[in-house]
């Protein structure tokens, strides 16, 4: 990992108009609410959060699959936001995606060889013989038998399908791979195989990963740095070890404590914090800090004003008026 910023997001907002209420009035639902972050070349940045926190929407905005409502995204110093589709083209092959559901993300009516070849054809990688050779090479890279290219997706298991999805993403030598819940649909033994494969590929091709998942154990395992999202906002961002050893945001603390643990003597027991209630509707965002209605430490200040994400220690960012384990401890 270097200090070179590959992708920089500044105050990214994505909102949708939704119908709500009995009379079907239009409301604005803000899925991503002012997220700023840097992705450094060669690192794996993990993003965790529960369903509906905006982590997938953020990923789609970062790679310009969705237009942002406001804010800017820079890739290697070039501002992508505001570019036309044609102008974006040269950057597309640098940023590839691996999707969650290996059943839905592969077209069932095309052979897996065609699926992997598509991005190569569209970007005019070379002659059809060159493409064919490249596809076979990609199959080998992800640990699949190259003789499988004529088969259809239904002939493969979930883990193999996810390998096909990964092969498709690597064809054009991307520098950034955005993986949105790449292993959550897989059984645990297969999940471990895919995670190990992704680690090997990162070493081999110097990839940068943005790894989105709801499983905190998985994110810890793969990430150099981890960002925690709640209701469309980044509430904490830090090196993985520091974040897991000493969470500073009360939501991070509760999230970590909620993970069932094996208690086989290898892990420190955390005191379980059971949050009350549910995540609020992003169309009816609470005033002040988005987490305050469920936070055990909330004060009047938290109800009144929304804390900004600030670097309270080197490499530790937190958005909280009363961060845990700090000098102004509880």
């Amino acid at each position: 990992m270097s200090d070179e910023v590959l992708l920089r997001a500044t105050d990214v907002v994505k909102s949708f108009q939704v119908r709500g209420g009995t009379l079907g009035q239009k409301k604005v639902s803000t899925a991503v609410n002012g997220v700023s972050l840097d992705i450094l070349r060669g690192e794996t940045l993990g993003i965790v959060g529960e369903s509906g926190c905006g982590k997938s929407t953020l990923a789609r905005c970062l790679v310009q699959l969705s237009a942002v409502s406001s804010g800017s995204i820079e890739f290697r110093g070039t501002t992508l936001t505001g570019l036309s589709r044609r102008q974006l083209r040269p950057y597309r092959h640098e940023m590839q995606l691996v999707f969650q559901d290996p059943y839905a993300s592969l077209n069932p009516r095309r052979t897996v060889g065609d699926i992997v070849a598509d991005p190569l054809r569209i970007n005019k990688f070379g002659s059809s013989a060159q493409i064919e050779a490249r596809v076979k090479q990609l199959f080998e890279t992800v640990g699949l038998d190259p003789s499988y290219v004529r088969r259809y997706p239904h002939e493969f298991s979930g883990g193999q399908r996810q390998r096909i999805g990964i092969a498709r993403s690597l064809g054009l030598n991307p520098s950034l791979v955005v993986a949105d819940e790449p292993v959550s649909a897989l059984d645990v033994s297969v999940q471990a195989q895919v995670l190990n494969l992704m680690a090997d590929l990162q070493d081999e091709f110097q990839l940068t990963y943005l790894f989105i998942a709801h499983d905190l154990g998985v994110v810890r395992h793969v990430s150099d740095r981890v960002g925690v999202m709640y209701l469309g906002q980044l509430v904490e961002l830090a090196d993985a070890d520091a974040l897991y050893d000493e969470p500073l945001h009360p939501y991070t603390e509760a999230l970590l404590s909620a993970v069932p643990q094996l208690n086989d003597g290898t892990e420190v027991r955390r005191e379980r914090i059971v949050l009350s209630g549910d995540v609020p509707d992003p169309a009816e965002r609470p005033s002040g800090c988005p987490f305050h209605p469920r936070c055990a430490y909330a004060t009047e200040e938290c109800r009144g004003s929304d804390p900004a994400l600030v670097e309270i220690r080197p490499r530790r960012f937190v958005a909280c008026h009363h961060p845990l384990n700090s000098s102004t401890s509880h």
Partner: protein, 334 residues
């Protein structure tokens, strides 16, 4: 645990399906004892037969090509092969069920109150008004705020976690002796899962129900279960007290399963993996089912190992010394 009169006693349960490609042994020789107020976990990956086993016990496997054998005794009474009419008081009455997906477990066209009332009236002679009152109590008990108003809400008006609470309230409505929970928290977020697991633990204490929890998540087992059975390809491979199975696992499949889970407390370079995929149920070998994926396979593994041991049982031919050796080597490697 009260071994004298187990609430549920399963012996040599086998379920097979005749398919065009051949015979699929979905469950093959499952034994299970569930004592009063005990929580027993069944853990395994997709296709290991854990759900089919539970459904077949309650007569919910209705495939004409299925054949079910063995014995399932509920409070000492054989229930395998009972008619629907004889089974009715059990299902939803003495045996409550919680399913994985709370949206499909509830009908979208009636209010949750209506659905709970229907179940209560089916199993008791309460009047509609009494049953409704009971439904409100139950919803309040499982932690639904403003239960008196929410009783008339429809399933789509609840969040996933709240819906699962409704399903739990419904499962509890007739004070079941046994609660079967099939992946009760798999569809939920981790903080919601924590709420639901805490709720289930509390209800076990207040209602005195025994619980069978089916899951793929060893973490959930560690939180909830007193005892656990690990299944692979339809067969039990290890069973025993949760502490023993998690801390001193004996079967190579259990080692793989535990080693493949990324832990919160550590960051290691590589995860332990189990080579290959969960096999097609058509290709399960006659001998040990795990042999094709096992790192420690021996000549003997062409024979099927029986479950051996007392409280902590395992089905593997490795001898004790070798097992201890491998396990300490695995611990080193971590």
């Amino acid at each position: 645990m009260n071994t004298a009169t187990p609430v549920l006693r399963v012996r040599d349960l086998s379920v097979s399906f005749a398919t065009r490609q051949g015979l699929v042994r979905a469950v093959d020789g499952l034994n299970l004892d569930v004592g009063t107020k005990e929580v027993v976990g069944i853990v395994g990956e997709s296709g290991s037969g854990k759900s089919v086993a539970m459904y077949s016990m309650l007569g919910l496997v209705r495939d004409a090509n299925a054949s079910i054998s063995g014995s399932v005794a509920f409070e000492g009474r054989e229930i395998l092969g009972l008619s629907d009419k004889e089974m009715q008081p059990l299902r939803g009455g003495q045996v409550g069920m919680i399913f994985q997906d709370p949206m499909t477990a509830l009908t979208p066209v009636f209010s949750v109150g209506w659905q709970i009332v229907e179940q209560i009236r089916q199993h008791s002679d309460m009047t509609k008004a009494q049953a409704k009152e009971r439904a409100v109590e139950l919803l309040a008990e499982v932690g639904i705020p403003d239960a008196r108003r929410r009783v008339d809400s429809f399933p789509h008006e609840f969040s996933g976690g709240m819906r699962q609470r409704v399903v739990i309230a419904m499962a509890l409505s007739c004070n079941p002796k046994l609660l079967i929970a099939d992946e009760p928290t798999t569809a939920l977020d981790v903080t919601t899962q924590a709420q639901i697991l805490e709720l289930m633990g509390r209800l076990r204490d207040t209602h005195g129900s025994s619980i069978v929890i089916i899951t793929h998540d060893m973490g959930v087992i560690a939180e909830m279960a007193d005892r656990v059975t690990v299944m692979y390809a339809g067969r039990p491979v290890e069973s025993g007290p949760e502490v023993d199975v998690v801390r001193q696992p004996r079967h190579p499949y259990t080692w793989g399963l535990l080693g493949a889970v990324p832990r919160l407390g550590e960051r290691n370079e590589r995860l332990a993996t189990i080579p290959g995929n969960v096999m097609s149920p058509l290709d399960v070998p006659e001998g040990c089912a795990f042999a094709p994926r096992c790192d420690y396979v021996m000549d003997r593994c062409v024979q099927r190992p029986p479950m051996t041991g007392d409280a902590h049982q395992h089905a593997c031919w490795l001898d004790e010394d070798r097992r201890v050796e491998i396990r300490s080597a695995l611990k080193e490697a971590r």
